[in-house]
Symmetry: C2
């Protein structure tokens, strides 16, 4: 719907997201909130065809990225373990896997927090990740995880929820 | 604390977790809830030293895994796109990245849902992932993402919350 999202809600959304736990408190998630026509026009051609119209319509589009050099903040974020940066910095593969995993965890907190704040969320995986990183994070060691539309949806336009795996299919309890 | 977690809470926890969105509704997360002494005894030696005592004390320890062949369920989970399984099945690398990302997203929903149900959560990344997969998912194409203790914590034993990156450090708004 054509109802704006107040910018102060975005800082509440981030604060709630950031409370969630990450490995060694590493917090690799980085966010750009695209909230103006001009920036939207830069983003939309990098979205997959099927994601363009909804990205155009959403009042805010959040770009969720991860910082491949997140470990540089660990001396402050995880001060009781002075060697924590080296758990990640010794291998690009290890750093990237931790950044992907933990920024995805944080994306889960972000989506739940947005819903808790009354926003509707449209997370999207279809886009040109390299182009978005170059355009919105130039010369930064960032990669794109997810792009997520935020706004107030129109319930009359909802699709039916897709099926979920049952507890029996996805879980077991060892009693 | 030494207060048990009723098994019916675990199925509510899974139901809430499963509502969260995933790419192409792929839901790669698979869970084992370790709820008895005998299974705990199999798990504990595979946990990192620093995680053993708390894993022993927690009434439930959840093993969060991902199914590398999650795409076999897509004809049912994403029926309007008959080619969806092939988006993932053509490359092991693509399938694994989607499984890691989406099971981490679901792990974020899981942690938020557990907190919403009044449980305390102790997610842990320190363990022998291959040994746990062999022991708890023998002959299955599953890998371990996270191990998470569940229970009712003792507030007097809490550490102080570690610092979080500020909005200014992690976010920007294009207005």
């Amino acid at each position: 719907m054509n109802r704006p999202v107040p910018p102060e809600l975005l800082s509440r959304l981030y604060t709630m997201t950031a409370f969630g736990p990450t490995s060694a408190n590493c917090q690799p998630l980085r966010l750009v909130f695209v909230a103006c026509e001009q920036a939207k026009r830069r983003l939309i051609p990098m979205m997959a065809e099927g994601n363009r119209k909804k990205t155009h319509q959403a009042p805010i589009t959040a770009i969720l990225a991860y910082d491949l050099r997140f470990y540089e903040h660990l001396p402050r974020l995880y001060p009781h373990q002075p060697d924590a940066p080296f758990w990640f910095s010794s291998s690009e593969l290890v750093a990237r896997e931790a950044a992907v995993k933990n920024s995805s965890l944080q994306a889960g907190y972000f989506i739940m927090a947005a819903r808790a704040l009354g926003l509707d969320c449209g997370p999207m995986g279809g886009f040109d990740a390299e182009a978005i990183a170059r355009e919105f994070f130039p010369n930064m060691p960032y990669e794109i995880n997810l792009v997520c539309n935020l706004g107030y949806g129109d319930k009359s336009q909802l699709h039916r929820r897709l099926p979920r795996l049952s507890f029996q299919e996805a879980c077991s309890i060892l009693l």
